[in-house]
């Protein structure tokens, strides 16, 4: 065993890497961060406790187990720890910026919604990395952080990464990017759930049960003319149509389809939701083509969810999108 491999297997060395990366990355964080180290199951990266106001209590897992994501080379264990450190920093950054961020796409909006729900929930959140073969718990926020962490890793540690490992890392990044094109599922205790429904349900619980104020978040600026409980589905559709924000448009399209409500506004074919349906059709075909040969469970489960959603949208809208192909799913 080489000295390099031994070097990063001690807890002391692991802590040293975490300290150096995280202090540099999270130095300008608005929230106070209290970090400690713990020993949990190897696929868990860290826990974050947000029960105290303005403080994130982070428990970093030192047990990396025998993970082989970064090969068997001498620097594999070091790369694993640097990846985890970047992952933690990306996650904390998302939580830190949740109040002011404005989403530019459906995926970024969903990531933001996850971060807001984590912040409002006031509970301890156990975070797992989505690059495992079978994710135990996974949310779009985790995928976003993994993409950022892997990209940083491949740039910052390029000299330590061998050619074949670089290809593997790029392969994982591509898989996660494909998922981010249509992020329909999340995992909870190994079960694939519809991510948007899960997050909306969590939001409702946070707003009504935990008294989370929607006015604190820029994401809800469009909606805060009314309380969550007072808003009707028609009003929500109208607000989203007028906002022209891809996140809200896609959210309404998905929510209506899942609830079995008619998708459409008075604007008819010119409505923003119509263009969202059109984009969904195009993206679902692109997603299908990209994942034809895949063995990734995440992508396969996500395709199953896309097919079901595609069916629901077809049933609930009279909008015919004929400029692109489509998935016609039957069950």
């Amino acid at each position: 065993m080489s000295t390099m491999q031994q070097e990063y297997k001690t807890s002391f060395q692991k802590k040293a890497i975490y300290n150096s990366v995280l202090s540099k990355e999270l130095g300008d964080c608005k929230h106070r961060i209290e970090a400690r180290y713990e020993w949990k199951r190897p696929d868990q990266v860290f826990t974050v406790d947000i029960s105290l106001k303005d403080t994130f209590e982070v428990g970093i897992n030192l047990n990396t187990g025998r993970q082989k994501y970064f090969g068997d080379s001498d620097s594999a264990s070091m790369l694993e720890i640097i990846y985890r450190a970047y992952y933690i920093s990306a996650y904390i950054r998302c939580l830190d910026n949740a109040t002011t961020a404005v989403p530019q796409s459906y995926f970024s909006g969903l990531v933001l919604l996850c971060a807001i729900n984590s912040l409002c929930g006031g509970k301890k959140v156990r975070v797992f990395s989505p690059i495992e073969r079978q994710p135990h718990n996974l949310r779009p926020l985790d995928v976003h952080c993994a993409i950022r962490a892997l990209t940083r890793l491949s740039i910052d540690c390029s000299e330590r990464i061998q050619e074949n490992l670089r290809d593997d890392i790029n392969g994982i990044i591509n898989e996660l990017l494909t998922y981010s094109m249509l992020p329909e599922i999340s995992y909870k205790r190994d079960e694939a759930l519809f991510s948007i429904l899960q997050e909306i349900r969590n939001l409702r619980e946070n707003v009504t049960l935990h008294r989370c104020s929607m006015t604190d978040y820029t994401l809800f600026d469009e909606l805060t003319t009314k309380e969550f409980a007072e808003l009707s589905l028609d009003e929500l559709a109208l607000i989203c149509d007028n906002s022209q924000n891809p996140f809200w448009g896609n959210l309404v399209m998905r929510l209506f389809a899942h609830l079995g409500k008619y998708i459409g506004t008075t604007k008819g074919k010119e409505s923003f939701i119509t263009s969202c349906i059109q984009h969904f059709g195009e993206d679902s075909i692109r997603y299908y083509r990209d994942t034809e040969q895949t063995e990734s469970l995440l992508l396969i489960d996500n395709l199953a969810a896309i097919k079901r959603l595609s069916r629901m949208i077809e049933q609930e809208s009279s909008i015919v999108t004929a400029d692109c192909g489509k998935i016609h799913y039957f069950q």
Partner: protein, 300 residues
């Protein structure tokens, strides 16, 4: 024929017997209990209701009936074990005994209800299949008149595409309609679209006035892509060797690669229900097969 009427007769007697024991009242009670259970979330038990009145939906519903029955049989077995143990040791607990008797009765009625629904479902499927077959014969004849004068090579090309799509429909796989298939599909729909034309009445958004709060409450706590009940019902159907196409998880998809393919597909298939798609491609297959039969003989 005689055997069939005998079976139908037995089923009628069995049905009447269940009705005599008050199964209809019990069903009402069970549905009341279900609506009470879901009073806050505005949802329904997936294993209690038909998805639609189409053949495929009614057929696959038998999977849920099987699932419900198995659950109640397991529960019944526990009650039997309880009475066996207390009987052997001569122990008597009045409150527990009464509760177990009630549980026994409930389970018996539940199993009877599943059987009663199964018999009714069976009769309904038979009726639907007969109607479908009659409709199919008529449509095949109409289509045959339109295509029988056409050239062998044209018909053969179209037949191969129809066969490919029909196979994936019956085997529950994916079928990709590629750019090169668009023209063939357009040719098929030129002859067949009038035969399958439907009036598409999409529902209006009258019920969208409900509050977001109520709507969100109807989302299950764990909005699974495939819920556990469905997964278990599918597994039981496989164990009991049910027909694959009536499995609750049976699925197929038709994927149009480009807008051109989508247009051609839409012209042919206007009603997007599973039964309708199955019907269209069964009719097409039947008509093209019939049209090609004499031509194939001359080719040989």
């Amino acid at each position: 024929m005689n055997e069939k009427s005998n079976t139908t007769g037995t089923y009628t007697v069995e049905r009447r017997l269940y009705e005599f024991f008050g199964i209809l009242f019990f069903r009402k009670l069970a549905l009341r209990l279900e609506s009470f259970r879901h009073r806050n979330d505005n949802s329904r038990n997936v294993n209690y209701h038909l998805r639609s009145s189409g053949i495929s939906s009614v057929k696959s519903f038998t999977g849920y009936l099987l699932y419900n029955a198995v659950c109640h049989v397991i529960s019944l077995a526990f009650v039997v074990v309880y009475f066996a143990i207390t009987g052997i040791f001569g122990a008597r607990y009045i409150v527990l005994d009464i509760s177990m008797c009630v549980l026994l009765l409930i389970n018996l009625y539940c199993i009877m209800l599943q059987r009663y629904t199964y018999i009714k479902t069976r009769g309904f499927v038979e009726k639907l299949v007969n109607t479908k077959n009659k409709r199919m014969v008529g449509r095949i004849e109409r289509l045959l008149q339109k295509i029988e004068h056409r050239e062998y090579s044209e018909l053969q090309k179209e037949f191969l595409l129809i066969e490919k799509i029909r196979e994936s429909i019956h085997n529950g796989t994916e079928c990709v309609i590629k750019e090169c298939d668009a023209a063939i599909l357009r040719d098929i729909s030129k002859y067949a679209k009038d035969i399958f034309a439907v009036n598409n009445h999409k529902k209006r958004g009258d019920d969208n006035e409900i509050s977001l709060e109520t709507a969100v409450l109807s989302i299950p706590k764990q909005p699974m892509v495939i819920n556990k009940v469905t997964r278990r019902a599918a597994k039981l159907q496989r164990i009991f060797r049910f027909d694959n196409s009536s499995n609750v998880l049976f699925e197929f998809s038709i994927i149009t690669e480009t807008g051109d393919c989508e247009n051609a597909y839409r012209t042919l298939v206007q009603d997007m229900s599973r039964d309708s798609v199955e019907f269209i491609f069964d009719v097409l297959f039947g008509a093209y097969n019939k049209a090609l039969l004499p031509l194939r003989r001359t080719q040989i």
